[in-house]
């Protein structure tokens, strides 16, 4: 019985991207991008600098709109609904699709207040409930033990790795379905990086994770599927083992073997 449910969940398509184009003013950053992202998987996005991977991931939660000269065409369906449709509230989208940034950006508030920010905005005022949510989120981010006695400490006193896990807990506190990660470990030391990679593996059973990384080994270690971007296009998008051992496109092979990028 559980197996059938698991299989169903595994095959569900969360994001359907069709012919996505994006321009910063007159410069085209994304060229006819199409991809299907499945649930409860880790999808890695790799490619050389400037290939559009950050732009792509920021389009998935419409954060890219913060830049005024951005224009898009094409369709991105999230759970079957086009996210660019006028009837969609971007606040709703971003609650379901969370984001962790490259440089940890905790608020200059206490650990507790950082995690409670999201739930508070959505109207949860009850102290007991907030305590529960904060504890659960910090546990999911594997940082509860380290911080349970420091909930009132300012987040800026934490180490880089702790701050990043705190930011993850902050995202998890609003119970998203998808977690977007834009090079989350590139500013961290190796030990913190490994901790977060372990965390990602644990989280994928409950969340869909899309991670941009410039570190190919990382993509190889933690992802189920990998998309290779070059000059704004998806060159190849397949199971990770395939991409890394038997890539179909020569450009993918060149990148994987380090001939450029």
């Amino acid at each position: 019985m559980t197996n059938i449910v698991n299989d169903e969940v595994k095959n569900r398509v969360v994001y359907e991207v069709s012919n996505l184009n994006l321009w910063y003013g007159n410069d085209q950053a994304l060229v006819d991008v199409s991809a299907d992202i499945e649930s409860n998987e880790v999808t890695a996005i790799i490619g050389p600098s400037g290939c559009g991977k950050s732009t792509f991931i920021k389009t998935l939660n419409r954060m890219v709109e913060l830049i005024p000269i951005v224009k898009t065409s094409g369709e991105i369906k999230y759970n079957g609904v086009d996210i660019f449709d006028k009837s969609i509230r971007v606040e709703d989208l971003r609650t379901k699709v969370g984001m962790v940034f490259q440089k940890p950006n905790p608020f200059p508030k206490s650990v507790f207040e950082n995690v409670a920010y999201g739930p508070r905005i959505h109207g949860i005022k009850n102290k007991k409930i907030l305590n529960e949510i904060v504890e659960t989120s910090l546990k999911k981010a594997a940082i509860w033990d380290e911080l349970k006695d420091r909930l009132n400490d300012n987040a800026y006193g934490l180490s880089g790795g702790q701050q990043q896990r705190l930011c993850l807990a902050r995202v998890l506190a609003v119970e998203p379905e998808v977690v977007l990660m834009d090079e989350p470990t590139s500013a961290l030391d190796p030990i913190s990086t490994l901790k977060i990679e372990d965390l990602i593996q644990e989280l994928k059973s409950s969340y869909t994770i899309i991670i941009v990384t410039h570190n190919m080994q990382q993509a190889g270690r933690i992802s189920d599927k990998t998309a290779f971007f070059l000059n704004g296009e998806i060159i190849e998008f397949d199971r990770t083992e395939t991409i890394f051992s038997t890539p179909k496109d020569k450009r993918t092979e060149d990148y994987i073997t380090g001939r450029f990028g």
Partner: protein, 300 residues
């Protein structure tokens, strides 16, 4: 879109309604906040309109070239304008010399010494001392001690001290903005420090220094309180000839005419006309400053 964070804690309908309210609140408050700017704009427009309308008919060539008089129809502000200009004749060289010298010392000679911190904190404290206090200082030191009474020199020196921080700070920034490689080039051919400053740094920072001194002048030309404390009198019928003479200045004249409006209603019109003259001078000065800044500011 199914959408319930913390599903245990809130029903979907309640959540959706709440989100709608949040988005609406965002729109309303954004709009409401813009009212403050609107308020400021309206006040400015009303202020200028009121003053200009009160001056109509009173601001004419005779007004600008005539002498002061008790009778409002005959009053002219030639002496007053001259007084203000003569004040600037004192303020400009004093503040330029002292202000730029201070800035040069702070930026080129003082390094990170304790003295630099003391002088810098001093200057920023002086910048927030009320102008009346400078008046009291001027009265005691320039008026009484140096026995300059209520002459242009006394007024000019007092105002110079008042606006000195403005010149120092803007000159400092102008000097700081001169890139190191220009100085290096000069030192590398064996030029001394002072020569480098004189021939490389100062010319490069001149636009910023000029802008700063124009700003200081605009401040000085509109200052009233220190001059009143110094004892600048109400009705000066004699036109000042030199900096040791008694005088009156634009803001003082506005002040006295405004105070006496209760006796003679037309004084309000005279005050308004004088204000227009003062504001015009300020407008011209600031336009020149902006022009200098835009035209000569090199981007290194």
């Amino acid at each position: 879109m199914e959408n319930v964070p913390a599903k245990k804690y809130m029903s979907e309908e309640k959540y959706s309604k709440r989100t709608a309210r949040r988005i609406l609140l965002d729109k309303i408050v954004r709009w409401a906040f813009s009212f403050s700017i609107l308020f400021a704009v309206i006040v400015l427009v009303v202020l200028l309109y009121q003053i200009i309308t009160k001056s109509i008919g009173w601001l004419d060539w005779n007004f600008l070239t005539g002498n002061l008089s008790i009778k409002p129809e005959k009053a002219g502000i030639r002496g007053v304008i001259l007084g203000s200009l003569l004040l600037m004749v004192v303020v400009i060289p004093v503040t330029l010399f002292l202000g730029v010298a201070t800035a040069i010392y702070l930026e080129e000679y003082a390094g990170k010494s304790k003295l630099k911190t003391i002088i810098t904190t001093n200057i920023s404290n002086l910048a927030s001392v009320p102008s009346v206090i400078f008046g009291l200082l001027g009265l005691a030191v320039f008026g009484r001690l140096f026995n300059l009474g209520s002459s242009i020199l006394a007024g000019g020196l007092t105002l110079s001290l008042l606006v000195l921080p403005i010149v120092v700070v803007s000159s400092q920034e102008a000097i700081k903005a001169v890139p190191g490689y220009l100085r290096d080039a000069s030192y590398a051919i064996g030029a001394s420090k002072w020569t480098t400053i004189r021939k490389v740094v100062l010319p490069a920072s001149l636009p910023g220094i000029l802008t700063g001194s124009i700003l200081a002048m605009s401040r000085a030309i509109g200052e009233t309180a220190p001059l009143v404390v110094l004892g600048i009198p109400t009705l000066i019928l004699k036109i000042p000839n030199g900096i040791f003479d008694d005088f009156t200045a634009l803001p003082i004249q506005i002040y006295y005419w405004t105070l006496d409006t209760v006796l003679t209603a037309e004084y309000a019109n005279l005050a308004a006309a004088t204000i227009v003259v003062l504001l015009t001078m300020l407008f011209l000065m600031n336009s020149i400053a902006i022009f200098i800044r835009n035209k000569f500011q090199k981007r290194y």
